[in-house]
Amino acid sequence: MSQTPLKTKKPFFLRFKDERILLILFALMLAFPFVMNLITGSGLNDGITKFWQGQLIIFFIMAVFAMSYDLLIGFGGILSFGHAASFGGGAYTFALLMEHWAPNFIGKYRILIGSLDITEGIVLLIVFLAVVLVSILIGLLFSATSIRLKGAYFAMLTLALGTAMFILVKATDFHEWTGADEGLHGVYVPDWINPTQNRLTIYLISLVFLVVCYLVMKRMVNSPTGRVIIANRENEDRMRMIGYNPVLYRTIAFVSASFFAGLAGALYSIWNTSATPTMVSAVTTVNALIMTILGGMGTLVGPILGAAIMQTISQFFYTWFGARWPLVFGVLFILIVMFLPYGIIGTWRMKRNDIKGGWQKLLRLLSKKEDL
């Protein structure tokens, strides 16, 4: 999966050509609630339309989380079992601030521009800044451990650090703050983005969030820095000899992955107005891992597809196989690991040249330019 450098700079509009499928998908997703509304007749904010918006919101957010994990594992070549710490860290930062700080602040102060009350906006902004800060710190913490440790030891330490985070949020000592085992529920969220009252808003926000994150990550992967991170994955010793400091670039990979994961966590926290210990647990990391593997490591579209598959499977397998659906899913996962190790997108991309070649041959045959 190499990034082939293109010498000629493409005109702006042509750049969208590569992304046309995604553009179409984006448009479809944008239109989805309205179309559903037309077809089913139920209101935008209730019934089946609302339900499916909810499903898609989870998908959008988890896709960003999975992509951020892929940034680490697929592009950076760093196997971390503690990525949920960033996701949960973002969620808890958001929930804690919104629960314990924001209502007080909003109760006491009003910030007006003219007659426009932007207090809630400012509060959200500050909270999100805090989320970003916390997730960057978590990324730094994890990358600091990678300086001394290698391979399986490093993977295990990330697992342990993740667990430490999990234990921390579960600790009863901070019950009044974090809600310990139950987590924080019914977190205060401004009305205009409240998922029960204004689902469409949060739907659109998550959709835009996904698209923006995808574009930014794609750009990052193709940026000078991103290229260095990828090369770092390939051959760290050689990078050192060329004149790059691998530790620095590993840190950048960690911090940026953590940054996106933290944002996704915070958004998830808005979506279900809660932050629970499960979001920090290893299960969440494993979910991201599974999504990435399913779709294909080292591609950004892969994790999105993986998230979509996971979301669909968890919806339909339940109705098909009952409560024991993960059994079927587990078998499926093992089969994919055994027979499609590069994931769906990865395998497809590897074969794509063959497919292309096949098509060209077919066309040649049809146009009778070649006698075969």
Partner: protein, 497 residues
């Protein structure tokens, strides 16, 4: 000689620190709490070791992080518990399993003849695939209409309703022989087909000498005999076992758990792990998926409930024994250790861990197999070049590791709730143990396990005393790990790369 001296100095300093910490704890906590906490630390350490031993062995030789180890620990507990409470399920499934293995074990017998078969490469490709497919179909047909869930239910019912009075109260009927007879036959056939496929008929580059046929026939014949036996005793054996003295029943449970773990490990290694050695990262993912599957399968068979296994009579009598002799005579549930009342079963768990350590040490240092394993850790290629089938050694080590996890499971059975997630926590602790001790070192795993057990126990003690949450105790193991890794990134007994 300078590094030697430095090493000795370090060991001396660390022993001093260790003694200091122990003395400090003793003075701080007082005699009785200290002994009590130490004993629970030992119990935990023993459990951690039983999980970590297999993990470290597997990692050392094969570089495989087995994320399904906790699930295998749990399976061991379930199997032992099954046999102990109501073995109907185990004996009901046994003929099928044995018949299938008999078929597979015929591989080495038929292989020398099959590879000499003159067939075109097209058939060489096609025949194994067809055989595998046919084996699958026959396997499905063999189980068609076989109510496994009902069979599994028997133990569940027994666990929830039977009282000590009548162990046979819930023994339930199995499928009558007239309905059952053809199932083992079909499975034998299915196994034979797998053997046919895996011996690669007609492939000339395969190698199998024609001599030594006698020794190759032993295993299939024994297995076949066992199959017949298992069909005959299918209905009577559960009754016999349930009427047995509880202590002996427990011993048999342990043996069954070990045997099951070994067999299961071997099957997993051969079918799932072996094809992935070239892409080792995917083994981690595969074992993750496997742990998923195992847990769900167990929940399917025995519902997502927690069961309490009855303690064997040797540990069940209420009352406190003053010394070991009295305990063995009366079967008391608790015993007096330096003035502290301590459950006897926990003492047994500690003993189990130590016995296991002794066993591994003997295996590794005194036997040829141990030699092969130690050599294989360094250079499997060279071991192969000496004429040793390294693949088979890998299978054996994996199976042994899983068997040890299963032994840990059944050992923990009588004092932990038996539930699908029971392995998860121990797997995590097992990983930490292995990392602390140094991956691949069983001595490290032993030391690390007891260090962690102590850390955990004293963490609990301090959490209680200082009225902190139990989370502090949970975190203590992680903290110990971080400290150890900061000082020695390769673990206590690990070797620098």
């Amino acid at each position: 000689m300078k590094p030697e001296n430095k090493k000795r100095l370090m060991i001396f300093i660390w022993s001093l620190v260790g003694v200091g910490v122990v003395a400090g704890l003793y003075l701080y906590a007082g005699k009785e709490p200290f002994i009590r906490t130490t004993l629970s630390g030992l119990t935990l350490g023993s459990l951690f070791f039983m999980v970590a031993a297999g993990l470290t062995l597997i990692f050392g030789l094969m570089d495989v992080l087995n994320f399904a180890h906790g699930a295998m620990f749990m399976l061991g507990a379930y199997m032992g518990w099954q046999l102990y409470t109501n073995p109907t399920f185990i004996f009901g499934m046994l003929p099928a399993l044995l018949a299938f293995s008999t078929g597979i074990m015929m591989t080495s017998v038929i292989k020398p003849y099959l590879i000499r078969w003159e067939i075109s490469s097209k058939w060489q490709n096609f025949l194994p695939k067809a055989a595998y497919f046919l084996a699958l179909v026959i396997g499905v047909v063999a189980f068609w209409g076989f109510d496994i869930l009902q069979l599994a239910n028997t133990a569940m019912v027994a666990a929830t309703t039977t009282t000590a009075g009548n162990p046979l109260a819930e023994i339930s009927a199995q499928e009558p022989f007239v309905q059952f007879w053809y199932r083992p036959l079909l499975l034998l056939l299915s196994g034979l087909l797998v053997a046919f496929a895996s011996s690669k008929p007609g492939v000339k580059t395969e190698f199998a000498p024609l001599d030594e046929m006698k020794s190759k026939l032993v295993l299939p014949i024994v297995l076949f005999g066992l199959t017949i036996l298992s069909i005959i005793i299918r209905e009577s054996a559960p009754v016999a076992i349930l009427l047995m003295n509880g202590n002996w029943r427990f011993v048999i449970s342990i043996i069954v758990a070990i045997a099951f773990g070994f067999l299961f490990g071997a099957i997993v290694e051969i079918t799932l792990i072996r094809p992935l050695y070239v892409r080792s990262f995917f083994i981690v993912l595969m074992t993750l998926g496997l742990s998923f599957v195992i847990q769900e399968l167990v929940q399917l068979l025995w519902d997502p409930l927690a069961y309490q296994m009855v303690r064997p009579p040797l540990f069940a009598q209420p009352g406190k024994a003053a010394n070991l002799m009295e305990w063995l005579r009366n079967g008391s549930s608790t015993i007096d250790v330096f003035g502290v009342t301590f459950p006897t079963y926990r003492l047994f768990v500690i003993l189990l861990g130590v016995v296991m350590f002794v066993f591994i040490t003997l295996l590794m240092t005194k036997t040829r197999l141990g030699m092969i394993i130690r050599a294989g850790v360094q250079d499997p290629q060279m071991v192969e070049a000496l004429g040793i089938n390294v693949k088979r050694v890998f299978t054996f080590v994996f199976a042994l590791g899983v068997a040890m996890a299963a032994l840990g499971g059944i050992g923990a059975g009588p004092f932990l709730p038996i539930q699908p997630a029971m392995g998860e926590q121990y797997q995590m602790q097992g990983f930490i143990t292995v990392v602390i001790g140094g991956m691949g070192s069983y001595v490290g795993a032993f030391v690390g396990a007891f260090l962690l057990g102590m850390g955990r126990a004293f963490g609990d003690y301090f959490a209680l005393k200082l009225s902190l949450s139990p989370a502090i105790a949970e975190a203590s193991t992680v903290i110990i790990m971080i400290i150890v890794l900061l000082i020695r990134p390769q673990g206590i007994f690990g070797k620098k790369e």
